[in-house]
């Protein structure tokens, strides 16, 4: 089975601050990491490979730094990686990302399964998998916690709907599946694999032009603007009045905050 795992580089939310005065991200000191949900997808792919054999290919899109993502994927166990890079992919939005990755999947040829992470760590829209499926014309399933290959060219997917409750669906391959963060914990990269992750020939870098995408295909569908910040937490407010009215007021407050 040839499995492609889409992996992207994001700013580590733990190191990303928000500047209240400038109403934008404060990225001084922010560290770029591999999107952790994507590592769950890679873990699922590696487990599938262990069960049925085949090849796991990491697919990423970004600037030269996104090479780190490919190397980490290889250090975790991916066989090789394709990095779609070049000045034209900097800052592209969701629609274009899906088109470029689709071109990447087609370029890799004879792919049976595309896995993505559930969401991006910072923005968390989780729309890549259905976008890819629409572009490729393949079946799609979201939030998988378990993948079990079947003999007849299908895959059995266990999906988490709410904590403790899910459903089992069968998809015909080829398919696109987003893997939930509630799935098996991703393995750590192994030292021996890290040592070999920079061996030549493991990461293929490809421009959009070579994949047959023109500038029109990469135009932005959305424009990212400034941040809207919630009001600063004001502590020490008082609900005045006698016990009875204060209790009424608290019940109302909990209702508006959707706790009741």
């Amino acid at each position: 089975m040839r499995i492609v795992v889409c992996m992207k580089q994001v700013y580590d939310p733990a190191t990303t601050r928000i500047s209240r005065s400038r109403e934008e991200f404060d990225l001084r000191g922010a560290v770029k990491i591999t999107n952790t949900p994507d590592k769950h997808a890679l873990e699922a792919a590696l487990r599938l490979r262990a069960a049925v054999g085949g090849e796991v290919i990491a697919l990423s899109l970004g600037d030269a730094e996104a090479d780190d993502v490919c190397r980490e994927a290889i250090a975790m166990g991916a066989d090789r990686a394709l990095l779609i890079s070049g000045p034209e992919v900097i800052g592209v939005t969701g629609r274009a990302v899906a088109r470029a990755l689709t071109a990447g999947v087609r370029y890799l040829d004879a792919v049976d399964l595309v896995l993505t992470g559930q969401v991006g760590l910072t923005d968390g829209t989780g729309s890549l998998a259905p976008r890819l499926a629409a572009e490729l014309g393949w079946e799609v399933c979201l939030d998988a916690v378990r993948l079990a290959p079947m003999t007849d060219g299908q895959i059995e997917v266990t999906v988490a709907c709410s904590p403790g409750v899910g459903e089992i669906v069968c998809l015909a391959l080829p398919a696109v599946i987003s893997v939930a963060t509630g799935s098996e914990r991703p393995r750590y990269a192994h030292p021996a694999r890290i040592a070999n992750a920079w061996a030549p020939g493991l990461v293929e870098v490809c421009s959009c032009t070579r994949l047959g995408l023109d500038a029109a295909a990469l135009t932005a569908d959305v424009e990212v603007g400034g941040l809207i910040l919630p009001p600063e937490r004001t502590r020490g407010q008082t609900i005045v009045g006698p016990t009875e009215t204060a209790a009424d007021e608290l019940v109302g407050l909990l209702r508006t905050k959707r706790i009741l």
Partner: protein, 388 residues
């Protein structure tokens, strides 16, 4: 001149920190209170290649880390739990390292794969009751009888003793010859006559299993001799050079987290109408601490780099150990002071760091021994005699 790590080292370091944060952090307090490391943690560490960190990939299947990268592992582990770091340090640097450098082919084939798999933890038995910092006066003897050596004596302060599967044991094969009469042996735990004695309950580094070890006419095959007869002292000294750099790395990792704890507490603890971090005196404290950590890191990295390059590093190792362990004790002391009363109760993690740091000034050569090593190099070629 280039101070940066290679991309491989960066990724390894990131993986070490991730492992420490996810696997070590949650076991640290419990391990400290119960004076024992969870075996599951060491199994996980082995699965991640840490128990064979410095063993080469070929032919043993180790992780093949160079020594500098290995110190990054110790640093990351010590950030969460110095006991875990020290256990893995003793296993790798002192035991596995000695076997790799000096073990016979048979010994290596027998013991090293199991050590890498974490099935045999390594321990290092040099110290004796009458010979702590002074390994020239060991009373444990090893007598050649036919194809075997018979070991007899008592070892103290043996780290990892109760969890160990293999010991590196120093004994006098020729007691009359002093240091030149010392030899080192690899002794599997199942060897008849090797008995684990009572436990030392320590102020800090509490989860490290430190015991007395008895050798009661303990017979080992002659090929378990490491190096040659009479090479024991040399083996001890070269091994301790590596050991000192490792201990320094543990001190750096530990102190770095202590500073983070101090910054966090100073921002959260409100007194006199504001966080105590607003006080300039405290800011000075933390600035000093962070600077000391950075200085110790520099010394330690350089010593580790020299070791990895195969250059002489005895002097730098002793300096790194002396400075970094003293720094860790000093920094944790200051950060505990920032915590005030909360630092003195057992609820906050800083007390563990404070207790652990103190031990680093003592193990693997006290600060005074490091001073002697350093001074003897300073006065080399002069008529001044540096003697313990």
């Amino acid at each position: 001149m280039d101070f940066s790590l290679t991309p491989e080292q960066e990724m390894l370091s990131q993986m070490f920190r991730e492992f420490a944060a996810k696997e070590v952090a949650r076991t640290a307090d419990k391990a400290d209170k119960e004076e024992t490391l969870p075996l599951r943690l060491l199994k996980r560490a082995a699965a991640q290649g840490f128990m064979g960190a410095i063993a080469p990939e070929e032919p043993f299947g180790g992780a093949g880390l160079d020594f500098l990268t290995f110190t990054l592992l110790l640093e990351a582990l010590a950030t969460e739990c110095a006991s875990t770091a020290l256990t893995i340090h003793v296993h790798n640097t002192l035991t596995l390292g000695t076997l790799l450098r000096r073990g016979s082919a048979a010994i290596q084939a027998n013991l090293i794969p199991a050590m890498i798999a974490g099935e045999r933890i390594g321990a290092f038995a040099l110290t004796e009751a009458g010979a702590g910092s002074d390994p020239t006066h060991l009373r444990t003897t090893a007598v050649r009888v036919g194809s075997e050596y018979v070991l007899d004596g008592v070892k103290t302060w043996v780290s990892n003793a109760a969890i160990a599967g293999v010991f590196v044991i120093f004994a006098a094969t020729n007691p009359a010859a002093g240091p030149r009469g010392l030899s080192a042996f690899a002794v599997p735990v199942e060897t008849a006559g090797l008995v684990i004695g009572g436990r030392e309950h320590t102020l800090g580094l509490s989860a490290v299993s430190i015991h007395r070890v008895y050798l009661n006419e303990c017979r080992v095959p002659a090929d378990h001799l490491l190096g040659g007869e009479g090479e024991g002292y040399k083996i001890a000294l070269e091994t301790l050079d590596y050991g000192r750099v490792g201990t320094a790395a543990i001190a750096v990792g530990l102190a770095r987290r202590a500073v983070e704890l101090g910054i966090k507490f100073a921002g959260e603890r409100v007194q006199f109408g504001g966080p105590i971090g607003n006080k300039q005196a405290l800011q000075g404290y933390l600035a000093d601490c962070a600077t000391e950590v950075a200085a110790a890191e520099g010394l330690t990295r350089r010593a580790a780099w020299l070791a990895a390059q195969g250059q002489p590093f005895t002097q730098q190792a002793a300096m790194a150990k002396l400075f970094a362990s003293r720094m860790a004790a000093n920094v944790t002391n200051k950060i505990l002071q920032i915590h005030g009363g909360y630092g003195y109760i057992m609820d906050y993690p800083i007390q563990r760091y404070y207790r652990d740091a103190r031990g680093l000034e003592i193990i693997e050569g006290t600060s005074q021994i490091q001073q002697i090593v350093i001074a003897s190099n300073l006065f080399a070629g002069t008529n001044v005699k540096v003697r313990p």
